[in-house]
């Protein structure tokens, strides 16, 4: 069921910045249905979540998270910290322990003092914090390999963009269910850059 729609999401930490990227294919098993599907969503300007797995669960989960975050913003008059948001997602996923959301979220954000934070979790909320990169989706095995070999710590935003794009494109080429280009977001304390990649369109 995780392989129904196909997906690839990856996030990497750089020097005072982070990048999060995903593929753009939406399929129904072997049939490609859309080539501009959004998997990475903004929660607030310094916090992003990428959701791989079943597309309808990804969209519903995103809507529920935005709802909870907006209420939090109204009540506490501040944005949620990435670590807090990760705990919230984990709690929400575990609520549905015996009928889960078929998604694997990747959470990336700039925490207090703009320290980059990334983490991933499985579909029932087991958090996995990482200092370098996190991957999820049908292409996750190739992504692990590509990131492991291409990643260096403390990369500047431009170099980070190059690295994450190369890792994403080479991994989705090895996976028939993800691809059709890429969408990369590089976030620094002062600005957010979105770029769309053109890869092998198959």
């Amino acid at each position: 069921i995780f392989e129904y729609n196909g997906s690839a999401v990856v996030a990497m930490v750089g020097k005072n910045c982070f990048a999060i990227a995903s593929d753009r294919r939406l399929g129904v098993q072997l049939q490609t249905v859309a080539t501009d599907f959004q998997r990475v969503f903004e929660i607030h300007p310094k916090l992003y979540i990428g959701l791989s797995g079943l597309a309808s669960d990804a969209q519903t989960l995103y809507q529920r998270l935005v709802f909870k975050h907006k209420l939090y913003q109204l009540r506490e008059e501040r944005d949620m910290k990435p670590e807090t948001f990760a705990s919230l997602v984990s709690a929400m996923l575990y609520e549905k322990r015996f009928g889960p959301y078929f998604c694997q979220p990747i959470i990336a954000g700039l925490g207090q003092d703009d320290v980059p934070f990334i983490c991933t979790m499985d579909c029932i909320g087991a958090k996995e914090l990482a200092k370098d990169f996190v991957v999820s989706g049908t292409a996750s095995e190739s992504l692990y390999g590509a990131c492991e070999s291409m990643y260096k710590p403390n990369m500047e935003p431009d170099e980070l963009f190059e690295t994450i794009s190369q890792a994403l494109l080479s991994s989705v080429d090895r996976d028939c269910l993800s691809g059709w280009g890429g969408y990369v977001l590089v976030v620094t304390p002062t600005e957010v850059t979105e770029r769309v990649l053109k890869g092998r369109m198959d």
């Binding site: 009540r75 506490e76 910290k81 670590e83 807090t84 705990s87 919230l88 709690a91």
Partner: protein, 235 residues
């Protein structure tokens, strides 16, 4: 008084626009033992009289000041049993927040939720309002904070406040003595002096209770030995 015809049911407004039961609850608070709180530049102090009904009562078993989380403490004026119920509920809410967000609850949020509980009891059937006013003291990312919560469920943030029997004298005394950049130790001295003002009898380390929270964000109830030191400094 025309209002007395409307004082039987909590959930009925009187023609003057008041909920008479809440007024009565405030009276219950006003006849309770004095308690007060002062927010200093680097912490908060809350204090209360601990007058026991007889010398045979074991004073170490009476704890009027309680902590709700490691960085939030509370004191009350009014009915002790109602206070215990509220402390229990507030502690549970603080833990539920932690379970969801893995972050300690900010003081304002806990105050808001406690006040919501108190308000529920003014609008449901078959229950009565809580006969306590709370002074909640805490230290979080927004610095030291002091809130008062009334039986009606309304809450206010104070720089210094008092409740209970001697409230008007205590408040006047505090108004005269309060300064914006007070240090915590000065605040403790002022608190003791304010309690002394209205105290019938001799004040000692065993018949007052003091709770402090400093910049280390740990709420502590002072031991009688520590209170004795402060008392001696005040004399």
């Amino acid at each position: 008084m025309g209002d007395s015809q409307y004082s039987f049911s909590l959930t009925t407004f009187s023609p003057s626009g008041k909920l008479v039961q809440i007024e009565h609850a405030l009276t219950a608070v006003g006849s309770g033992q004095t308690s007060l709180g002062i927010k200093a530049a680097n912490g908060v102090v809350i204090a209360t009289e601990k007058k026991l009904p007889s010398i045979l009562v074991d004073e170490t078993s009476v704890q009027k000041i309680q902590s709700l989380t490691p960085n939030i403490g509370v004191v009350y004026s009014g009915m002790g049993p109602d206070f215990r119920v509220l402390v229990r509920k507030s502690r549970k809410q603080a833990q539920q927040y932690y379970q969801l967000y893995k972050e300690t609850i900010p003081v304002t949020q806990l105050v808001r939720e406690t006040a919501a509980v108190m308000q529920e009891f003014t609008q449901s059937g078959g229950v009565r309002p809580f006969g306590v006013s709370l002074l909640i003291a805490g230290y979080d990312d927004n610095g030291p904070q002091l809130y008062q919560v009334d039986p009606s469920g309304s809450y206010f943030s104070w720089k210094a406040s008092a409740m209970g029997k001697n409230v008007s004298n205590a408040k006047t005394f505090l108004e005269k003595r309060y300064t914006e950049d007070m240090e915590l130790d000065d605040a403790i001295h002022t608190a003791i002096l304010t309690l002394k003002e209205g105290y019938e009898g001799q004040i000692s380390a065993n018949n007052i209770e003091i709770g402090v929270i400093r910049a280390d964000r740990e709420f502590k109830v002072l031991t009688p030995a520590e209170i004795k030191d402060f008392l001696e400094e005040v004399e």
